[in-house]
C-alpha cells in the first residue's frame, strides 16, 4: 500500500454523548458510510485498514473514499468493566492523501468542508458499532482554506482533463501560481481571461489606419492576434490556441515619437509604447482546449456540485461572525472599537535638514 504523502491540516473531532455499544469488531468488513443530509449527498467507502489498542481506548479505521484518499476515523472510548461493551467518547476524522493528484486533494477538501459545514453528519461505521448523527466543529479560517484549496484543485483538474495533461498539485501554491492556474481555467471554461496590465511596447504597422489613431489623440481600442498562446502552469506549457488580445481605453505614451515613426507610411512594423488606462488586457480564446461534457464520474460530479452550497454556508457563517464582533455594543463602545486613529496636526511634518 502506498504511503500517505499528506494528511489534511487538522483532525476534526466530534463528541459522542454517552454511547454504549459492543466492543469494536475489527474483523468486520462492512464499508464506512457518510450521509450528509444537508447536502443531499452520501458515500460508501470500503475499509482498507483497522486496528485497536489492547484496552480499546483507541480504535482506528481507514476507508477509501476515492483512489488515493482515505478517511481515517479514530474512536476514543473506554471499556466498561467486566463486560464486552465500551463507552465511546469522541470520534476524530482526518483524511490521508496518497498522491499529489489534484483530484485527491479536491475530494479530501470537499468532504472535510462538508463535514465542517453540515449541521449533522450521519456516520455508519459497522466495525465500531457506530451509527450516529455527529457534529464537527471546524474553525471558520480552516474552512476558508479548505474551500479555497478545493477551488484551486478543481481548476487544476479541469486544466488536466481539458488539455490531456497530468499536472501535480504541490502542497502550497504561491499567489502567482494561483493566478496562472485561474487564467488557464478561465481560458478553457469562460473562453476568455484577463491580465492586469499597465503599459508595454506593441508592434504597429506604419499605415493610414495607425496614423489615424495617433492623429485623433484620444483613447482607442487596440486588438491584436496571438497565433499560438502558450501559458505556463506549474512548470507545464499549455497551448491555449490562438488568442485575440484587447487593450481597451489605450493611449500612446509618447505620441510625438509615434508620429515620427509614421512620417513614412511604408507599411513596416514599429514598436510603440501603449498604456492601457483600464489597467487590464483582455484575451479571447476561441479555440482553447475544452472540458468534455462528461468529464467526471458520478462521485466527482456530485462533489463538484457542492461548490455553491459550501460557499454560501461558509459566507453566511462568516457574515454572522462579522456582525457579532460589534453586536450589542453601545454607541460609545462602537465608537471606541471602530473609530479611526487620529494623529495631531504636527504628525508627519517634513523632515528638517
Amino acid at each position: 500500500m502506498a504511503t500517505a504523502i499528506s494528511a489534511q491540516e487538522h483532525e476534526m473531532t466530534a463528541s459522542i454523548v454517552a454511547l454504549n455499544h459492543p466492543l469494536p469488531d475489527i474483523s468486520a468488513d462492512l464499508p464506512v458510510e457518510l450521509i450528509f443530509s444537508e447536502f443531499d449527498y452520501s458515500l460508501s467507502a470500503p475499509l482498507v485498514e483497522r486496528s485497536s489498542t489492547a484496552d480499546f481506548q483507541w480504535t482506528t479505521i481507514k476507508a477509501e473514499v476515492d483512489k488515493d484518499v482515505l478517511v481515517v476515523c479514530r474512536l476514543k472510548g473506554s471499556r466498561i468493566a467486566d463486560s464486552e461493551k465500551m463507552r465511546s467518547e469522541e470520534l476524530a476524522i482526518n483524511f490521508e492523501i496518497k498522491s499529489s493528484r489534484p483530484r485527491a486533494r479536491f475530494v479530501a477538501a470537499t468532504l472535510q468542508a462538508m463535514l465542517g459545514l453540515s449541521g449533522t453528519v450521519r456516520l455508519r461505521i459497522p466495525a465500531l458499532h457506530l451509527d450516529a448523527p455527529l457534529q464537527f466543529s471546524v474553525p471558520l479560517d480552516k474552512l476558508a482554506r479548505l474551500i479555497h484549496g478545493r477551488w484551486m484543485s478543481y481548476q487544476l483538474m479541469v486544466i488536466n482533463r481539458a488539455c490531456g495533461m497530468i499536472i501535480s498539485e504541490p502542497p502550497q501554491l504561491s499567489r502567482e501560481e494561483q493566478d496562472r492556474i485561474s487564467f488557464a481555467y478561465d481560458a478553457i471554461v469562460e473562453r476568455g481571461a484577463e491580465r492586469q496590465f499597465y503599459q508595454g511596447a506593441f508592434s504597429l504597422r506604419a499605415d493610414e489606419q495607425t496614423r489615424a489613431l495617433v492623429d485623433v489623440g484620444s483613447s482607442f481600442t487596440h486588438r491584436f492576434v496571438i497565433d499560438h498562446f502558450y501559458h505556463e502552469v506549474l512548470g507545464h506549457q499549455l497551448n491555449l490556441g490562438s488568442a485575440v488580445a484587447i487593450a481597451s481605453n489605450a493611449i500612446f505614451v509618447n505620441r510625438d515619437e509615434a508620429l515620427h515613426r509614421l512620417e513614412r507610411l511604408d507599411g513596416r512594423e514599429f514598436k510603440a509604447l501603449i498604456r492601457v488606462m483600464d489597467g487590464v488586457l483582455k484575451y479571447e480564446f476561441a479555440d482553447a482546449p475544452r472540458l468534455p461534457a462528461t468529464a467526471w464520474d458520478e462521485q466527482i460530479a456530485g462533489l463538484v456540485e457542492m461548490e455553491k452550497p459550501l460557499d454560501e454556508l461558509h459566507f453566511d457563517a462568516v457574515n454572522k461572525l462579522a456582525a457579532a464582533t460589534l453586536a450589542g455594543m453601545t454607541e460609545e463602545e462602537m465608537q471606541l472599537y471602530t473609530q479611526p486613529l487620529h494623529l495631531d496636526e504636527e504628525a508627519f511634518a517634513d523632515p528638517e535638514i
Partner: protein
C-alpha cells in the same frame, strides 16, 4: 501612475471603512463581499494596517482596566477569528518602499489626513491587490503619486 476601477478578476483588500461597514452589517457591503467570495472562493483580504486599527481599541482598554470584561473579550475573540478567516496582507519591505514614495510627494496635511489610506494602498499594491473602499477621492489622490513599478492602483467602490 493611475487609479482605475478594479475588474471582477482583481483580488481585493478591504479598506477600514468597508471592514467597519461589514461588521455593522451594512447590506451593500455584505452583498459585495458575498459576490466577491462567490467569484474568488475566498474572502477579500485585510491589510496589517486594518488589523492594527481593529486591535488598538481593545489594547487601550486592557491598559486602562488591566483586562477585558467577558463581553469585550468575546468581541475581541470574534474579531481575531474574522481576521484569521479573511487573511492578512503584511506591510512588508516592498509596501514600505511604495508608502515612502507616496508620503514624500504629499503635503503634510494630506499625509496627516491620508496616512492610513496610504499604508493600505501601499500594502495592497505590494501584494498585487486592489482596494475595496467607499473613499474614492482620497485613494485617487494617493494614486497620482505611485512609483513606476507599482503604477496602477485598482479600486472597487463599495457603498454601505
Amino acid at each position: 501612475m493611475a487609479v482605475v476601477f478594479a475588474s471582477p478578476t482583481k483580488p481585493l483588500a478591504l479598506d477600514n471603512d468597508v471592514f467597519t461597514d461589514w461588521r455593522k452589517h451594512r447590506q451593500g457591503v455584505s452583498l459585495a463581499i458575498k459576490d466577491y467570495k462567490a467569484r474568488f472562493k475566498e474572502l477579500p483580504k485585510l491589510t496589517s494596517i486594518t488589523v492594527f486599527e481593529a486591535r488598538w481599541g481593545f489594547e487601550s482598554q486592557v491598559i486602562k482596566f488591566g483586562s477585558l470584561d467577558p463581553q469585550t473579550e468575546q468581541w475581541r475573540s470574534g474579531m481575531e477569528e474574522l481576521i484569521r478567516t479573511c487573511g492578512v496582507l503584511d506591510f512588508d519591505q516592498h509596501a514600505a518602499s511604495i508608502a515612502a514614495h507616496i508620503f514624500a510627494r504629499l503635503s503634510q496635511s494630506q499625509r496627516n489626513r491620508n496616512w492610513r489610506d496610504i499604508l493600505i494602498a501601499a500594502t495592497a499594491l505590494a501584494h498585487g491587490y486592489g482596494v475595496a473602499t467607499r473613499n474614492k477621492d482620497d485613494f485617487e489622490l494617493i494614486g497620482r503619486d505611485l512609483p513606476d513599478l507599482s503604477s496602477t492602483l485598482y479600486l472597487a467602490i463599495w457603498k454601505p
